[in-house]
Amino acid sequence: MLKISNLHAGIENNEILKGINLEVKAGEVHAIMGPNGSGKSTLASVIAGKEEYEVTEGSVVLDGEDLEDAAPEERAHKGIFLSFQYPVEIPGVSVTNFMKTAINEGRKARGLEDMPAKDMLKLIREKAELLEIDRKFLSRSLNEGFSGGEKKRNEIFQMAMLEPKLAILDETDSGLDIDALRIVANGVNKLKSKDNAVIVITHYQRLLDYIVPDFVHVLHQGKIVKSGTKELAHELEDKGYDWIKQETAI
């Protein structure tokens, strides 16, 4: 589904990603771990098409199509979803209105009419229930005054609404309490199928107990320096990153 080859990207002569190779197939869950500042969020942004970052080498290919020239909204229409590490606030725009706009823009791109209000309402209700979100919450301004955990849960609510092909969850677990973590992870698992894929960026093994990865990758200084199965995450939890840093320094 997603094939990243020798990806180099950065900002103003400062190379952040230094040759990333990653292949994600339909039905798979990949976890990306790595120390602070190693480039995890940057990788997520580059996949989503953030223009601030310049891709200097390599490619990101989705379903056989090179995304080089695709605008962020086009990538979204193709089924890429990013749950942000730091979701932004949009004052005065309710969660409902925002989702309605997002869904209808996606439909427009596929040549469909706007979703009838009745269906929209039903969908919103259903997904709000899945993530145990109070419907009053949905008429509040997007992310404005939301607690850290509420923001993250709201990101996954949006994911549930948009049903993406490839979801990238950037530290969705940070800020969630234990119950919320379970609810959010359950939500993600319910949305999983053999046709879609998830990339989970996290610092903690805890989330991976719920969303079980098929592969775990360690990103360090802009490169994937180690890949393994879910046992690798346990090993990192026990030993930290030093041993990997040493391994790669050689």
Binding site: V88, I90, F98, E105
Partner: protein
């Protein structure tokens, strides 16, 4: 606030000022220049009584002694007042029983403006008095209004048919000598609207007037007088569009509102005069004096959405004379490219327990300058006056400016005055967030701007809110990226 996205898309595709067409109707236009003879000629042309002519001449005398003010945060080439023609009327029959009699080309113009009568009928409950180049062309729903004793007509007609009302109230809120532009308007006003709601009557429909400037080189001097008698209620809508022109066009209107005891007036404006092109060429100069007086327990609300004009100088104000009276000002002012706006309000608290609310939303893009200027004045006898002001500015890009000039003069210790101000920028992160959800940048800006303006948009009557939302989107089109 539903609006179809197809409509929106169509509008966005049309990047140039969409109302930039010009109706070719033979006009009866005066020679350029201003002197006593011209003032008298205007009055005569309109078959006015002698007192009106006198009143105009007094204003003209005062105006000659006055100087164009320059304290506002705007720079422009001062108009040459002797190079303007002060009267222009469509050269057709002044009165129609039905629209069938109206020049088809004129009707076509209305269609282009999106105010065809067909549409108006759909917007049930809206009476439209269309003022085109100074003379009232069509008035609808007049009969329904007449049954309630409501008078809604052109000011020229009111001067003839209801001289006692006009004479009693005209210039009582905005005196002839009030300021340079008001004096000019008083001398040469060509037409405008008049509205009287009798005691205890609730006007059953929104009263709506569409203005437009049509003749090149013709100044527009509208005069509006709205009187809500004791215990009455009226909601008045004013919308403006103008065709594009290379030379700057002057617009100096005066609006006077009178809310007698226990009355309420809601006055909503969507202003979309030609703002000039992307290089800052052309555009309307809009120097407006709008003021209302509130008697006991009465209320006046000004709501405005200002997206047009090259230069805007406008401060809809309330004189809270009566005890327990309420003044409100809700404003969205958008400036793009080289537009300049200096707008705000004045709330003058005279009566006891008077309250005022000011919500101002300024949106600046391009190389534009957007200033809020507000005065809250509490007189010594105004016990327990309260004011709440909130001024929010939204900036797009690095070349525009937002400024706030709040003035407070409180002469009574019991006054409670609160002022809040914020300035924010549409961030690339906000736009990327929207993009990532499949919303393109244009739409994302519209969404963010609408969110920012929501408190004010919510104050507008429904049909107007939809139109205003579209206008916001159109006027900010292409301003980021």
């Amino acid at each position: 606030m539903a609006y179809t996205e197809e409509e929106l898309k169509k509008e966005l595709e049309n990047k140039e000022y969409e109302y930039g067409f010009y109706t070719d109707i033979e006009s009866d236009t005066f020679p350029v220049g201003l002197n006593e003879e011209i003032v008298i000629a205007i009055s005569k042309k309109k078959e006015e009584p002698a007192w009106m002519t006198e009143w105009r001449l007094e204003a003209f005398k005062a105006w000659k002694q006055m100087e164009e003010p320059d304290w506002a945060n705007i720079t422009y080439k001062k108009p040459d007042f002797q190079a303007i023609s002060y009267y222009s009327a469509p050269n057709s029959k002044p009165k129609y029983d039905s629209l069938d009699e109206v020049d088809p080309e004129l009707l076509d113009t209305f269609k282009k403006l999106g105010i065809s009568l067909d549409e108006q009928k759909k917007l049930a409950g809206v009476a439209v008095d269309i003022v085109m180049d100074s003379v009232s062309v069509a008035t609808t729903f007049k009969k329904t209004l007449a049954e309630k004793g409501i008078i809604f007509c052109s000011i020229s007609e009111a001067i003839k048919e209801h001289p006692e009302l006009v004479r009693k109230y005209i210039g009582t809120v905005v005196p002839q000598k009030d300021n340079f532009y008001a004096a000019l308007n008083s001398a040469v006003f060509s037409d405008g609207s008049f509205c009287y709601i009798p005691k205890g009557v609730r006007c059953p429909m929104e009263l709506s007037t569409y203005f437009r400037i049509n003749q090149a080189g013709t100044g527009q001097f509208e005069r509006t007088l709205v009187i809500a008698d004791e215990g009455s209620y009226v909601s008045y809508l004013e919308g403006c569009t103008a065709p594009s022109r290379d030379e700057n066009q002057l617009h100096a209107a005066v609006v006077e509102l009178i809310a007698l005891d226990d009355a309420e007036i809601k006055y909503s404006t969507v202003q979309n005069w030609f703002p000039g092109d992307k290089e800052g060429k052309g555009g309307v100069f809009n120097f407006v004096t709008k003021r209302g007086i509130c008697h006991k327990n009465s209320k006046i609300s000004w709501t405005q959405v200002e997206t047009g004009s090259a230069v805007t100088w406008k401060y809809p104000s309330c004189i809270l004379k009566g005890d327990n009276s309420i003044g409100e000002f809700y404003s969205i002012a958008v400036t793009n490219n080289y537009q300049q706006a200096d707008t705000g309000t004045k709330m003058v608290h005279i009566g006891k327990n008077t309250r005022s609310t000011i919500i101002s939303k300024g949106i600046s893009a391009g190389k534009s300058q957007n200033s809020y200027r507000g005065l809250v004045q509490v007189n010594s006898r105004a016990e327990n006056a309260r004011n709440f002001s909130q001024c929010d500015s939204l900036l797009m890009g690095n070349e525009c400016g937002a400024h706030t000039f709040p003035y407070i003069e409180a002469k009574n210790k019991s006054a409670q005055i609160e002022h809040e101000a914020t300035t924010s920028k549409i961030g690339e992160d906000q736009i990327f967030y929207c993009n990532q959800r499949g919303i393109d940048t244009e739409k994302a800006i519209a969404l963010i701007v609408n969110g920012f303006s929501k408190e004010v948009l919510n104050k507008l009557p429904m049909e107007f809110a939809v139109e205003a939302q579209k206008l916001l989107e159109i006027s900010l089109e292409g301003s980021v990226g």
